[in-house]
């Protein structure tokens, strides 16, 4: 592009002046307010497979049945067989010839996910209405319905992460590719 010499020089000077500004001056906005993890204990619901984020409390399938019958069975049926594809919690075989039912028992790789999902999203018509104790109880009941634990197994933050799910080796983590 043609530019008169004087103009070109001025243009360069302006650019040089801009470059000399400390880069921090352009990005000094820091408006986050400090907060402590203890202030977030009711807010942070992320419960991971390494056991992080699980609250205190415990439950068994025996105690969970009563909660499940009242708060879950309307959509998932008393035996967990559900009322439509996405509400089915039990059965299925990932290795079957046809379309496998992908349920907690046949598909989900981590027991932590069952607790995490129920606590944050269930029951669908009143999410987060269960107490932590009730979430442990219902999680135990769903695992019991899938023959993964006994009726009297006490589920808490320690025992939950030790549970080996039937399809735990069925997943290939591709996150390293991206």
């Amino acid at each position: 592009m043609y530019m008169p010499k004087a103009f070109k020089f001025g243009f360069l000077l302006v650019n040089a002046a801009f470059l000399l500004l400390p880069s921090s001056q352009a990005q000094t906005v820091k408006l986050g307010q400090a907060i402590s993890e203890s202030q977030l204990s009711d807010f942070d619901l992320v419960a991971g497979p390494d056991g992080s984020g699980f609250p205190s409390g415990s439950g068994t399938a025996k105690t969970g049945k009563a909660v499940f019958d009242v708060k879950c069975a309307a959509c998932h049926a008393a035996n967990g067989e559900g009322v439509s594809g996405n509400t089915r919690l039990v059965g299925g075989d990932i290795h079957s010839q046809g379309n496998p039912l992908r349920t907690v028992g046949s598909y989900w790789p981590h027991a932590s996910t069952v607790f995490d999902f129920i606590r944050r999203a269930m029951p669908a018509n009143a999410p987060k209405s269960l107490s932590n104790e009730e979430v442990y109880q219902v999680t135990a009941y769903v695992l019991f319905l899938n023959n993964i634990i006994d009726e009297s197994t006490i589920l808490n933050k320690e025992s939950l992460t030790e549970i080996q799910m039937p399809n735990k080796d069925g997943f290939v983590d591709l996150s390293h590719l991206h």
Binding site: G32, Q33, G48, D173
Partner: protein, 422 residues
Amino acid sequence: MSEKLDRVAGNGLINRRHLLKLGLGGLGSALATNALSADAGLKLQIPQWSQQPGPGTSAYGSPSPFTSQIQRMAATPNPVYPGGGASRSPLQHLQGTITPNSLHFERHHSGVPAIDPAQHKLVINGLVDQPLMFSYEDLLKYPMVSKTYFLECSGNSGTLFGDTPVDGSVQSIHGLVSCAQWTGILLSTLLDEAGIKTQAKWVAAVGADGASMGRSVPLDKALDDVMVALYQNGEPIRPEQGYPMRLFVPGWEGNISVKWLTQLKLTRQASQFRDETSKYTDTMADRRSLQFTFPMGAKSLITSPSGQMSLPQKGVYNVTGIAWSGAGSIKKVEVSADGGRSWANATIESPQSDKALVRFSIAWQWDGGSAVLQSRATDSAGNVQPSRDAILAERGLISFYHYHGVQSWGINSAGEIKNVYA
């Protein structure tokens, strides 16, 4: 037709200049000889609306009542899934590459929360030097970037894994893709402010909806081009897109761009949320399931003419559509009218920017016989959109997400257009 047609591929694909020369374009265009001569008895009058003042300005505009058929399409609500479900963009009615905010596709897991931005908080915690809390008002003061990106649900087009081709429109089959200009704060800016601990490898993003939708984002991607988006096509993000803020993860499956964003927790491992284990995983023929298959594949669709339309008569048509890739920009779109036996390069009409829709077109003369219209995209990384057969060979039949095969629109001698497998 006086001029000899310049053919660029089989079954009627012709040079674009014919569109201009014949004065044709869009579905319903007919042959020049039919279209260009008006009825001899016609005497054009000044219309009634030119003889009176119209209504004045309005506080917030709305589309013409004559375009009221241009709507999102949603399935009947499911009583056991309150607020759940999806609505699809009317791709067959849209042009260019930007989806109007009112027509951007939706996918909700517990409905649209009614968030008061003055009460909403964004928290960054976990493996950071200092957990932080941000108000909406404060976030508006940060430097922002504006980028045009597509967003596609990984379940889009999933019905095409089925044995029999569904009788559907481009909207009902492929309407879970949209494109907008997103404006927001680079996530790296906010994470740097909190201070990332060296053990952190993932960011768990959580929404403020009833489902507290959660997804894990690898830290490398989070620090690359991910943003906390606050604006959509220039206005505050719509409630159904995450008002007051959403995560936006360019090029990756839509579900990970968590709406109504309220928490970012840095962790060592992925959090293994329901929507990255039970859902949004791809079961292969050998029954292993691929997890964290994030990027959306190179893909294109002819949006007009397309499924459930019909061609009124023989003649020249403007074949137009959209293409995109999660791996970069679109370099080339080819079109076939003979089911993939021959291909011609379509014209790309819009900027070819990274992870955004492009609009393509090509002229096609329908001779009244049967035809199969297809399009095939190539992206800047060299990925070529695969055929349906290639996808099925690789993925098997029980997979559901990330379908990006070549779409075939079959046209019979009556001009009826149907989704077909070719």
